[in-house]
Structure formats: structure tokens, C-alpha cells
């Protein structure tokens, strides 16, 4: 375990930046935290979590895949892929860090998504333990320990000191280049961890019961009448999808200018009316089916295909951001009550 005074964070960030790009949570002009490229003077946000999730660094909203160009009467393929530089993402919370392992299951299984893989390979993830969870946080119910996040390095901010623990080879390699980090006792974070874990138990959603969900529950849940009332006010917007650290769907589109084509992918939402629309029509004709897809994917289909792991990390973003305050917790509580 290492440490550095909070007042010296700028020195630490500058040293990391000297080697590679660094992203930290900083307040935007509207006062919300967002992962931002560090530059001298950029202050670490005091907010619990970023408005947009950390997935953006690995799975950006829009990404060029390939280009084509007409040249001398033939179609020429244009490489648009750029090998990313190494980067460090600092201040990732435990929930978002867990989301990477969920996205890995999707993008790193065959056929491997090489765009995502490239970014993952170039990134060093430095997590930051939580001390002041929000009422909307339910990471504990999803098996995430907010007091001991994973990542290449784990940090704790405690009494004006940043504690630093390297967990992986990548983390060790980064640590070696940062001489301003001084050794400290291995148990330096223990007291804080105990306090945070006690706090987590007090959160209103700490004991969320997930026993009605998971692999094999499709039949029991698919035709439940409650889907109608749960989805009746849903606007079919993309807010819950786009702020969610585990939502992973994208569409492939093209930008054409007459002589060339740029093919890109962009986030898509199963809440949108044209999602997976085919020539035969729309397989999910109303918001009820689209809404059901989003939540059953996270709570049943994903665990079914991924060793029982839920496709939600309990970050609470969809609770805080949905315009009509409908969310995964309401779905869990509504469908969870009367299960057989």
C-alpha cells in the first residue's frame, strides 16, 4: 500500500500525464461530474459518480469502423481505425469497474470486438472506493463491494490522504513510475472500509431481493401482466440506456457524401421504436415489449448466457435520470413480490 497527500494530487496527475493520457471525474459547466482529460489545474470532482458512465472510454457513443472511397472506377477500402494511445482512467467507482467485466463478456467473447479490445488493452483502470453512497446506490445487492473496488489500482481517499494499492501487473507498472507515492501500512484503508460497509447496509435498497430473477426465469416473468403498468408512462427515450454502464447495444450506420462512405457504429437503445427493426417489421411493436426487453435482458437473459451474472451493477443512474422515474428497481420490486 502507498499513499500521497490529497494536496499533492496535482503532482501525481502531472506525473501520470507525462507518460500517458489521464481521465479523471471533474465537474462540467453544469456542475455534474464527467470523465475529463486531465490538464494542470483540473480538480477532482467531489461528487460520488459521473453522470455519464466510465464505459464511454471503452465503448464510445460514436466510433468509425471503416471507410470506402471511389477511386479510378473502383471501390477502395479506407482504414479509419486509429490505434489508441495508452491511457489511465482514474476515479472509477466499484460499480463502473464491475461494468467492465460485464462488457468484457460481450465484446471479448468470440467474435472478439477488436475496437473495444484495443481500448481495454491500452487502459489502466484506477478505481476509487466510495465513502458517501447515494440513496439510489444498490451495488451491494449486485454483489459489488463499494469499499474495495477492483481495477489495476485501487484508491481510497481518507482524511486528506489518497491511499493507493496496485492489484495487477499493469497497476504495478504504473506505480513504479510514480515515486511521489510513499509506502504506508497495508491496513491503512481498513477503518474506512468498515465504515463504508456499515453505511451500505443502511441504504434503502441494500436488501433488494433478486430471487425472482436470474437464469431460467423467462417463462415465469415474460407474460406477467404488470409489464403493462410498469411501461405505460415510459417515454421510449434513450436516457436509461445511455447513462447505463452495462448497456452495450449499437447500430451500424453510414455517412455518405456521394463519392465516399464512412461506416460508423453508434449507441442504440432497445427503448427506441426502430430498434432491431427488420424488413418484416418491428418485432417489439409497442413500448411494453421494448421496456420488457431492457429489463429482462439485464435480469434474466444476460445471467442465462453468462454464468448467472446480472447485467446490472446497481449504480443507480437510471434511478436518478429517468424523466418519469421508472427504473430497474421498480421492476424488481413489482415483479418480485408475487413470484412462485
Amino acid at each position: 500500500m502507498k499513499q500521497i497527500a490529497k494536496t499533492e494530487l496535482d503532482t501525481l496527475f502531472a506525473a501520470i500525464t507525462a507518460e500517458q493520457k489521464l481521465y479523471i471525474p471533474a465537474d462540467d459547466s453544469a456542475g455534474q461530474a464527467q470523465f475529463t482529460l486531465w490538464r494542470p489545474g483540473l480538480a477532482l470532482s467531489g461528487r460520488l459518480n459521473t453522470a455519464r458512465s466510465a464505459k464511454d472510454l471503452f465503448f464510445p457513443q460514436v466510433e468509425n469502423l471503416v471507410g470506402f472511397r471511389m477511386h479510378a472506377g473502383a471501390i477502395e477500402r479506407v482504414e479509419t481505425r486509429e490505434e489508441p494511445e495508452d491511457f489511465v482512467i482514474f476515479g472509477v467507482r466499484a460499480c463502473d469497474c464491475r461494468s467492465f467485466s460485464i462488457l468484457d463478456r460481450v465484446f471479448l467473447s468470440e467474435p472478439v470486438d477488436t475496437f473495444y479490445q484495443m481500448r481495454r488493452a491500452h487502459a489502466t483502470v484506477v478505481t476509487l472506493a466510495c465513502t458517501r453512497p447515494e440513496e439510489t446506490c444498490f451495488c451491494a445487492a449486485m454483489g459489488v463491494d463499494a469499499a474495495d473496488p477492483a481495477g489495476d489500482v485501487t484508491c481510497w481517499l481518507e482524511d486528506g490522504t489518497l491511499l493507493w494499492r496496485a492489484n495487477t501487473e499493469k497497476g504495478e507498472a504504473l506505480t513504479e513510475k510514480l515515486p511521489m507515492l510513499r509506502p504506508c501500512p497495508a491496513d491503512a484503508a481498513d477503518a474506512q472500509q468498515a465504515r463504508t460497509r456499515a453505511l451500505m447496509q443502511k441504504l434503502p435498497l441494500a436488501k433488494l431481493d433478486l430471487s425472482a430473477f436470474g437464469a431460467g426465469k423467462t417463462r415465469a416473468l415474460f407474460d406477467r401482466p404488470e409489464w403493462a403498468s410498469l411501461s405505460e408512462a415510459c417515454l421510449g427515450c434513450g436516457t436509461c440506456t445511455f447513462v447505463c454502464p452495462t448497456c452495450q447495444c449499437y447500430d451500424v450506420e453510414e455517412f455518405r457524401d456521394g463519392s465516399s462512405v464512412r461506416r460508423f457504429r453508434c449507441w442504440d437503445s432497445c427503448m427506441y421504436s426502430d430498434f432491431t427493426k427488420m424488413s418484416a417489421g418491428q418485432p417489439r411493436p409497442t413500448q411494453r415489449e421494448r421496456f420488457r426487453q431492457r429489463f429482462l435482458h439485464k435480469l434474466v437473459y444476460f445471467p442465462e448466457n453468462n454464468d448467472g451474472v446480472f447485467g446490472c451493477v446497481g449504480c443507480g443512474r437510471c434511478l436518478a435520470k429517468c424523466p418519469i422515474h421508472m427504473n430497474i428497481v421498480k421492476v424488481i420490486k413489482t415483479l418480485g413480490v408475487t413470484h412462485a
Partner: protein
């Protein structure tokens, strides 16, 4: 407060209506969801009227008024303008809706409360005009006005544009300086203004919440969703397209936008969309004479009408500092 819930029960019990549109209790005290209630027990169990009823119910009446039978809706002053505008556009079937107008003292907004640095809020209670906010990390008292959402901080009017029955008193137009911020942006140089909007709109994640919540955006298929329009853009092909989406949307709703404030309320990225709409409203007031969309059932929105006194289009260029 004002017997709103009691009224919902009375309307259903007396069978004067078949359904009631209102707000349903959530997990916490603030996360109410718009909902349709069909029975008295349902209302008793989960209908809520509180300082967190900011959601505008009018747009839901497009579908609800076409479902057969009679539906009652509780509308705040701002919601009634959206309602009237939608009736004028033949979207809501007026005869199927029983409008219960509800007077309103301004709605609180959790995002605003959180912006004061309060986190893990467990309850908010009104106490002599102030708000007692309890959190896991201690309590604090907020001035009520500091907890209001943007649309309520700058409420244009407490006068209900329509109602079949009224809970509370009819109110008056308000002067809460809703154009002050617009004037501040008008005073910028074109370069500063461009930079301001580029900055604000660069945060957009194109979730479409602003459009989908907007009562003036009630097209069956939005031009931006229609593959045959040539304009469909689920994601922007370049950084300016995002800006274009907002500019075009502002034009599409101009003179029909009632300034209900929903777009700004729902934006997860806290983009001040109301400033765009209010700029249009301010200009329309100046160019065509004061006009409030949704204030009455008869007048035509100025941009959907033609009179001989209409300003010449060249005025736009003059005012914009062009030729």
C-alpha cells in the same frame, strides 16, 4: 394538500369518469411516475400529490383521450397550456377529458436539491415555507425556492388556461424574469454566443428525452426517426449535427412551445434547452406582438398564420447583424 387525491377517489367512485391520470408513488418520496388509475383502491394505495409532481401529464392525454370512455386529468397551470395547445392541434379529444385544474406553489426537483451538495436524501418535508432535507449524512434546511426546478423558478403563469373544475384558486400571470437569461446571451458577441451553445450542446448524448417528453413534439414519426426522411440520425455523423438537431427542433416547436419547461427538466446532461425556446418566444413577442401558446382555443400561433402586418423576412438578417 388541496384534496387532490380525494378528488380522484370521488371522480372514480361516482363513476363520473372511467380513468384518472395522476402520479404514482415510487420507491422513495420523490420518484413519482405518471400513471393511469382505474379503481378507488388503486388510488388509495398509490396516488400521490406532492411537491414532486413536476411531470406534465398533458401529452399522455393524446393516447388516453382516444381510449374510449371519460378520463380525468390533474393539470397544473403550466400543464393546461400544453393541454390547450394539443387540443388546438387536434391531438387531444377535448370532449373525453375532464380537466381538474390544480393550483401549484412550484414543484421541487431532486436534481436541483442534489446540486446543493446534498446526497443520499431520505426525506424532504415542508416546514413554514422552508424545506427540511434529511440525508444519511445529516439534515439541512433549504429555502423552498432553492429546491425548485428551473421551470418553476421562472414560472410564467399561475393562471390555468382551462379547467372543468378547480382545486385551489385561479392564479395570475407571473413575472419571474424568464427572459433575463436570454437577454444575457443576446448581449454576447456572435462568437461568444456560438461558443456558448457549442459548449452546452456538446454535452448532449442524444437520448431524445427532451423531444419525447415535449408536448409540442407529437408527430407520429419524428423526422429524425424516419429512415425515408434522409435526416434520420441516431447518432451524429459529425459534431455539428447534434447542434442541428436542437436548432431544428426549436424551429419545429416555435410559436407552439408553451414554455412548459419539460425539456430542460428531463435532460440528463443539464443542458439549458429552455434558453433556445425562450429566445424564440421573446422574438415572437417582439415581432408579432405578445403571444402565449396554449393560452386560448381560438388564436393561431403566429408562425402558422399570415397577416398583412407580419414583419418582412429580411428583418431576421437585420436583427442578426447581417446585411
Amino acid at each position: 394538500m388541496q384534496g387532490v387525491k380525494e378528488k380522484a377517489i370521488e371522480l372514480l367512485r361516482s363513476k363520473s369518469v372511467d380513468r384518472v391520470v395522476g402520479w404514482k408513488a415510487g420507491e422513495f418520496f420523490y420518484d413519482l411516475t405518471p400513471a393511469v388509475f382505474t379503481s378507488v383502491p388503486e388510488v388509495e394505495q398509490s396516488f400521490v400529490w406532492s411537491v414532486f409532481c413536476a411531470a406534465n401529464l398533458s401529452k399522455y392525454l393524446i393516447a388516453e383521450s382516444r381510449r374510449g370512455g371519460k378520463v380525468a386529468a390533474f393539470l397544473k397551470p403550466c400543464d393546461t397550456y400544453s393541454f390547450v395547445q394539443l387540443v388546438k392541434e387536434h391531438r387531444i379529444l377535448r370532449e373525453n377529458v375532464h380537466v381538474v385544474g390544480v393550483q401549484c406553489a412550484g414543484m421541487c426537483d431532486m436534481e436541483t436539491i442534489r446540486s446543493h451538495g446534498l446526497s443520499a436524501v431520505t426525506s424532504v418535508a415542508e416546514q413554514d415555507g422552508a424545506l427540511r432535507v434529511e440525508t444519511l449524512y445529516g439534515a439541512r434546511t433549504l429555502d423552498r425556492k432553492d429546491a425548485l426546478g428551473e421551470k418553476c423558478r421562472t414560472c410564467k403563469s399561475k393562471k390555468l388556461a382551462v379547467y372543468d373544475e378547480l382545486l385551489g384558486e385561479q392564479g395570475c400571470d407571473e413575472d419571474n424574469g424568464r427572459f433575463l437569461e436570454v437577454a444575457r446571451i443576446e448581449a454576447m458577441t456572435p462568437e461568444e454566443r456560438f461558443a456558448f451553445w457549442r459548449g452546452e450542446l456538446s454535452r448532449c448524448i442524444r437520448c431524445n428525452a427532451c423531444r419525447n417528453v415535449c408536448p409540442a413534439c407529437s408527430c407520429e414519426t419524428c423526422v429524425f426517426d424516419n429512415p425515408d426522411s434522409g435526416l434520420r440520425n441516431k447518432a451524429a455523423a459529425d459534431a455539428f449535427e447534434e447542434n442541428l438537431f436542437h436548432i431544428i427542433r426549436a424551429f419545429h416547436v416555435a410559436s407552439r412551445c408553451t414554455d412548459c419547461g419539460e425539456c430542460t427538466r428531463v435532460c440528463p446532461q443539464h443542458i439549458p434547452l429552455h434558453l433556445l425556446n425562450r429566445k424564440f418566444i421573446k422574438d415572437i413577442n417582439g415581432l408579432y406582438g405578445p403571444y402565449q401558446a396554449g393560452a386560448d382555443f381560438d388564436t393561431k400561433p403566429p408562425l402558422m398564420d399570415f397577416t398583412l402586418h407580419d414583419p418582412e423576412p429580411s428583418q431576421a438578417a437585420v436583427r442578426g447583424g447581417g446585411v
